[in-house]
């Protein structure tokens, strides 16, 4: 009896010791991973305030000797960075507005609406998820060139004006709303638009917000289509402008990495701020999609 008890306590002690060892190991690994993951961001920030001589040192410094915030102003002067910013804002805003309007209405039609061929048409929407812009860009480019839409805001926005993903996610949420709310509103004489804007949208606002955040970041960070359709500087967006900075500063052997990094900081600022403010929504957006 006694020996058995002893072995049990011994086993417990060993388990506790093991668990503690695992948790210490976890902390060490977690911190190591975080340091590696954060390093490129740190390096960008640090480089963006170094002087040119310091950037060109063969022995890199891990804290700048002096802070040169004028690098940021220099980028603004040397290329039309402010213009890129405005273009990106207009393009992203346009995409957002269009996707929200087309998405909310279509999601209503495909969830609460009743009409012949509803399911078949919804399959048409879902099928579009399998046809990326990387396949279809050639005819769209030709079409837009024909319509004189190259180097215009409309040209940047139009192919992204509707998102099957947005419709799909919203439809799922709208379907979870009980029909009785809609019936009650209808009896009160609320019209279709009222039902959508005053009942469905407010009731689903957290999903709507999450999905819209995803749309915003993908719009802000989009590169492929803007690169194709906007060749002139007048409609260039940040992502393309940033990638071109290297060419502006003499290609591979550029000496201006401090200024390029300053540009990179400015380009990602809005999205990173959003990420920290709405972290919860952004993380749940991804896990929600994964759970489907």
């Amino acid at each position: 009896m006694l020996t058995e008890e002893r072995t049990i306590t011994e086993r417990n002690e060993r388990a506790i010791r093991n668990r503690r060892a695992i948790s210490v190991l976890q902390w060490v690994l977690a911190i190591a991973v975080t340091v590696v993951a954060f390093f490129p961001i740190y390096w960008m920030l640090i480089t963006s305030v170094k002087s040119q001589e310091e950037v060109l040192l063969l022995q890199p410094t891990f804290w700048p000797k002096e802070f040169h915030f004028e690098n940021y102003a220099n980028v603004m002067h040397k290329v039309k960075f402010a213009k890129y910013y405005v273009n990106t804002v207009i393009m992203t805003a346009g995409i957002l507005v269009c996707q929200i309007i087309t998405g909310v209405f279509a999601a209503y039609g495909f969830s609460k609406g009743q009409f012949k061929g509803k399911n078949a048409l919804f399959m048409v929407v879902l099928g579009a998820l399998m046809i990326p812009l990387q396949v279809t860009f050639i005819p769209i480019y030709v079409m837009f060139a024909h319509w004189h839409l190259t180097d215009t805001y409309l040209g940047l926005i139009l192919p992204e004006a509707v998102s099957p993903y947005y419709i799909f996610m919203l439809r799922q949420t709208f379907m979870s709303i009980d029909d009785s709310y809609i019936d009650a509103a209808r009896i009160d004489g609320v019209g279709k638009v009222g039902i959508i804007t005053r009942i469905l949208v407010p009731m689903c606002r957290s999903t709507l917000f999450t999905v819209t955040l995803v749309t915003f970041t993908s719009g802000w960070n989009s590169y492929f289509w803007p690169k194709i359709i906007a060749k002139e500087e007048s409609h260039r967006v940040l992502t393309v402008g940033l990638a071109k900075l290297r060419d502006t500063f003499a290609g591979q052997g550029t000496m201006n990495n401090h200024e390029i990094m300053a540009g990179a900081v400015m380009a990602i600022l809005p999205v990173v701020i959003l990420f920290f403010v709405f972290q919860k929504y952004m993380l749940s957006g991804y896990s929600k999609a994964a759970m489907k």
Partner: protein, 301 residues
Amino acid sequence: MTKKGIKPRTLDHLQDFGCTIPALILILMFTYFPILKLIQISFTNWNLLNDHYDYVGLKNWKWLFTGSGRKYLVNSLKVTFLYSAGELTITLFGGLVLALIFNTMHKGFSALRAIVFMPKYVAMSSAAVIFLWILNTDNGVLNYFITRLGGRRVDWLGQSSTAMISILMLTGWRAIGYGMIVYLAAIRSIPKDYYEAADLDGASYWTKLRGITLPMLSPTTLFLFVTTFISSMKVFQSVDVMTGGGPNRSTEVFVYQIYSYAMEDFRMDRASVMALAFFILLLVITASTMKLSNGRVNYDT
């Protein structure tokens, strides 16, 4: 008004249908119609420099599969699948390992977790210029670390053997936190009593991992596999910014090749055939991954 002849019920249905029309028109115009147009262009000899084009039958298709285009098609297939394999490994295996490391309710971990996930929100073009700078041969900080450890400077982007590794470093940095977050959410949803029951039997950490955690995560793994596989096939931006497909076509992925046929060589005919081949490839991959997954995943919760 015109309403007179129509029953209110029919009008109601028409309105519901009307709600979907703007989205449907845009989808038809910018997704389905271009596919038809692509098929048409693929039978012509159209390049953007001429207004005029003729129908040439299967010439472009022959060029791609049996002619001089074949070599480059095979190359870009190889490069793309190599990239995919890399991204899949990092997202699935790396993401899972990180999720296991970060799987603790402790407050401090959530701040670290957010930092690991953050690169996903750093726009690819910013991330790419950061990595160009880190990987710089003479002044790059990575080569500095390597020389400090006694190694020799590596020309990361200038040689075929390391160009793809460089691109995968960039991809991995942005993707691994995403894999982690998705796995973490799934690990959290595994019922606690499974582990409690295993604890009573005195199961070790590894037994529980193999016997409970991994099987319960199989739907998540499948989700990540399918979505990552398909999105990795479409890789373009990192290649465009970092290597431009080179050196010696060692990073010339599928989309990059379509892009350069169309926007650099102005060969719309060849680019269209390539784009259609890519579309078919995507369909095959989607269909086969879906089929493969049926019945092989543990949905038991």
